[in-house]
Structure formats: C-alpha cells, structure tokens
C-alpha cells in the first residue's frame, strides 16, 4: 500500500495510480472480470442468497457452494457522500469523490464510486449503471455512472 508522504502532494492526482485491492484466491475472478467491465457477485448454492464483497463462504448459511455470477449492474443510489478530503493523493484531481451506497436488488447493496456526474446532480434514488466496459480498467473496482431512466 502506498504511503501518504508529504512529497506525494506535489504530484498531480492523474500522475498517481489509485490504491489497488490485494488480489487473492477468493477475489481473483471478481477483480479480473471488472477489468473487462463485468460485475460479479457471489450467489450461494445452499440458501440462494447473493452477497458482496467476495468471501470464501456464504455469510448467511456458511455453505462453501458459492459461485460468482454476472449481474447487469443496474441499480439505484440509496445514499451518498461527496468526499472533499480523499484518503490518497491519487484522488485529489477528482474531488469531490462521489461515494455511494448502491442498491442492486432487494437485499444486495454495495459501496462504490459514481463518476460522470456533478455534485449538484447527485441525489438519493438516482438510477445508476456501470461505466462502459472500455472505461472500466481505469478504476480498481466496479464504478457507476448515472443511468438515463
């Protein structure tokens, strides 16, 4: 993990790469799919629930029969914040960061960034979708944009 040093603030955000997730056996498939713009969540073969973030077992029933499945990534904003003081200088060129809780289905929400919007246009219940596949690799994790409703 990159340390926040005083010298790093002299560099523009665009020159730094975003902090990256640590790849492991449990999340490798999910991270690789996102590089192609696809969102995978895990579905449990035991209880039928879906969940995020990637785990080694189903957090509802402890079944190990969990499979990644692709979902369309269409959802709506539950709530959000506009982050003016990001945790890493790589984001300084992007402030405010729009950080949101996004509902993907009745019992599945995740925390993600929304891009391609202005702070003034943000509101709760805003429909969102994944950024296009050709932009996905710029972002370490599934990232959303407003959806034309």
């Amino acid at each position: 993990m990159r340390a926040i040093g005083s010298g790093a603030h002299m560099v523009t955000g665009a020159a730094l790469s975003y902090p990256q997730p640590r790849e492991d056996r449990d999340n490798r498939e999910f991270l690789a799919a996102w590089q192609e713009g696809r969102l995978l969540v895990q579905a449990c073969g035991g209880c039928g629930r879906s969940f995020f973030y990637p785990r080694t077992l189903c957090p509802y029933c402890w079944s190990q029969n969990v499979q990644f499945e692709e979902i369309d990534g269409k959802g709506e904003v539950v709530s959000f914040s506009l982050v003016h003081r990001p945790n890493h200088p790589a984001f300084l060129g992007d402030i405010p960061i729009v950080l949101a809780e996004i509902r993907l289905s009745a019992d599945l929400t995740l925390i993600a960034r929304i891009v391609g919007t202005s702070p003034e246009a943000m509101r709760s219940s805003l429909p969102v979708e994944l950024v296009p596949a050709n932009e996905a690799a710029r972002y370490p994790l599934p990232t959303f944009r407003p959806r034309a409703s």
């Binding site: 993990m1 340390a3 926040i4 975003y18 902090p19 990256q20 997730p21 640590r22 999340n27 969940f51 973030y53 957090p59 509802y60 539950v78 709530s79 959000f80 914040s81 506009l82 982050v83 003016h84 003081r85 990001p86 945790n87 890493h88 790589a90 984001f91 992007d94 405010p96 960061i97 950080l99 949101a100 809780e101 019992d107 929400t109 995740l110 925390i111 993600a112 960034r113 702070p119 709760s124 972002y139 370490p140 994790l141 990232t143």
Partner: protein, 383 residues
C-alpha cells in the same frame, strides 16, 4: 469474588498532544501511573492487563507487560476499535470475578495524526483495503457522511440539530485544560465550517491526536468507598446488523433492555451520558438505540436539550473526542475515564451537580461500511 463487589477504583489520562516525539509506551505509561495513583495501588498489585491501541502492533498486551515490568495472570488485547476499551472493562471485571486476576489495569491510547488516520483506515482490515480504499473513500468520513445523509433523508434529522452536540461538547471542553480544541464554537460556526465529506463538515469530525487513558478494575474493598465506582451492567455486540453495509442502528439495540434490566434503572435515571463521539450522527444513533428517544426521533430530542456539562442532558462532559481530539483507540476510553472522574466528584470546573449514575458507550472497528462493534456500561458511585 462477587461480581457486584468489583468496580473501577482508579483512572488516569495522559496529556493530549496534536503531535509529539514521545512514544506510545510513554503515553500509556503516563495514563497508567495516574490510574494507579488515584487507585492508591502499587504497581505490583496489578496482575491483569488489557490494552486497546491501533498502533501498538507488533507489540501486544504481553509485550507491554515486559515493557512495564508486570507479571500477569490475565492479558487482553482489544480488538473492537473504539468499542474495545469499554468491552475490556466488562471482560476485566469477569476475569476478577472468576479468580483469573486480582486487579486489572485497562489501557487505551495511540499516537497518530491526520495522515496516520488515513494510513490506518486504508489498511484497517481486508474488506476496507480491498473494497473501499480503492474508491477514494476519505477514511471514515466518507462512510459516516453516507450514514448521516441517509438518517437526514429517512427521518428528517437536520444539521442544526446534530450541531447542538458539537456545540455543547465544546462548551465543556472550554473548562477542560486537556482538551485540544477550546475556542468557543457556536452553531453558525458548525453549520458554515468547510466541507470535509458532504454532508459532514469540519466540526463533525475528530482531530486525530496523541494521548492515552487508563482505569483500574478491582474489588471495591481495595479502595475507600468515595473513590469507588460500581459497574451495574455491561454488554458488547459485534457485527450487527450482519448484512447491511451502512445501517442507521447498531449493536446497542440488541442489548439495551438487558443493560437497563441488569442495572435496575432506565435511561431517565442517568445523570450523564458519555457516548462514543466519532461523529455527532453516531452519538445521535446511540441515543436512539439506547432508548433516550425513539428511533428516528433524535432530531426533536436534540432540539429540546442542551449538551454541555451543565446542560439539560450532560453529554461527553469533558468535551469528548470532538473537542479533546481522538487519540486512536483512546477515544474508546475517554468517556469511561470522564465518567469515573464525574462519579468521584473530581471533575473540577465541569463537575455535574448530581452525578450519581451514568452510561458509557463505545463504538468502532469500521468494516465494510459500518462500525462493527458496540459496547456499553452503566456505572454508579459506590458511596
């Protein structure tokens, strides 16, 4: 030992500093010496040690015993972030009740600053590191800003209501020489402060700093009754609700009824509350979950009370983390130490007139969106 005959007999606090060359051990030692002095105990009376600290690693409770020259029969390393110190007191009392220790020193503290806070949060646990840090979440601020907006939009809670917490606590801090932020703070200052993570502004957020806190848990016959504080009840819960990233509630709602039942008194009988104040919105949620008002009605509750030490609802009477600074995991013990100070009648210029009984609440260990841990104790003066 009868559990009801075990309590808190000493308390200590280091100086709070925005930045220091001093070591974490030095800060913990300062708080520890104060706690032993107020307990009237010698160092060799301590055979149990609990410590909560984010920056202690690679050290731990046992290596701290070596540093401090203690031989222990019981050692406890807090794992519940800002809920850990209150949980450590609950567990220390049980250790004494079951004969595992005779007197336990509970410590909490850290030595960090704003950059240190970001480093800590970026690497707090795998879920945050892998699935939140890469979004540029702005540390805990970005997450609790979402919680606050959700509370405002769900229940109509207003910033002008939440601000009364920060304003009241600042008034208490102005008579606390160890608070780092002691300049007057009015509601307009709170409302108009610079944006950190909308809707959070500057005075919603704590100042990461260096400091440490300590208490001594022991059978109450080890100290004069006037110096003793009973632990009437205590509970902790971790990961509730289990599958919601950003809930408007926490573990308190699960144990609230047991907490008051065991104590034999209810929220109306508390003379003060020391709630975990990483953000006013989380204080507000604790007040709801702990039954001071109904869920969703905290806005009106905040509007009709004042929160300074001499207010209608004395809250975080030393100024809390919002005005003293957040000494890392020490933020989970600052309210406990302040409660003991108040119950012993030793709070000086901020002494609550009728301080017979109070509630102390902890919260922390931010995982994927929420503080995972909640803890609370109800304390009462023994004399």
């Amino acid at each position: 030992v009868d559990a009801e005959a075990i309590g808190i007999i000493g308390y200590g606090q280091s100086v709070y500093l925005k930045r220091t060359e001093r070591t974490l051990f030095s800060l913990l030692a300062e708080a520890a010496r104060g706690a032993l002095a107020t307990a009237g105990l010698r160092k060799d009376a301590i055979d149990g040690l609990a410590v909560a600290s984010f920056e202690l690693s690679p050290d731990n409770a046992v290596t701290l015993a070596e540093q401090f020259g203690l031989t222990l029969s019981w050692a406890y390393l807090g794992t519940a972030g800002g809920a850990g110190p209150v949980a450590s007191v609950i567990n220390a009392a049980r250790a004494i009740a079951t004969g595992h220790a005779g007197a336990v020193l509970c410590l909490a503290g850290d030595n960090y600053d704003v950059a240190g806070h970001y480093r800590l949060m970026d690497n707090f646990n795998r879920a945050l590191t892998n699935y939140v840090t890469p979004h540029g979440f702005g540390g805990a601020n970005g997450l609790f800003a979402i919680v606050q907006r959700k509370h405002m939009e769900t229940y109509g809670t207003e910033r002008a209501q939440l601000g009364r917490i920060a304003v009241g606590q600042r008034a208490s801090a102005m008579v606390n020489d160890n608070a780092l932020l002691r300049t007057p703070l009015g509601l307009a200052d709170y409302l108009d402060a610079r944006v950190i993570a909308d809707p959070l502004r500057l005075y919603d957020c704590v100042l990461p700093c260096a400091g440490a806190e300590a208490v001594v848990i022991a059978p109450l016959d080890r100290a004069p009754a006037a110096k003793c504080v009973r632990i009437l009840s205590g509970y902790e819960r971790h990961n509730h609700p289990p599958h919601e990233p950003l809930p408007l509630r926490g573990g308190w709602e699960l144990f609230r009824d047991d907490l008051y039942r065991d104590a034999g008194c209810g929220p109306a009988e508390m003379d003060f509350v020391q709630a975990y104040d990483d953000y006013p919105i989380m204080v507000a949620i604790q007040l709801e979950d702990l039954g001071f008002c109904n869920k969703g009605e905290v806005g009106a509750f905040l509007a009709r009370h004042t929160f300074a030490w001499d207010g209608t609802f004395p809250l975080n009477t030393g100024g809390g983390q919002l005005s003293c600074g957040q000494a890392g995991a020490g933020g989970g013990m600052i309210g406990l130490v302040e409660a003991v100070r108040q119950l012993r009648g030793e709070a000086g210029a901020r002494q609550v007139g009728k301080a017979r009984r109070g509630l102390v609440s902890g919260y922390g260990m931010v995982g994927y969106g929420k503080g995972l841990s909640a803890s609370s104790v109800i304390l009462e003066r023994a004399s």
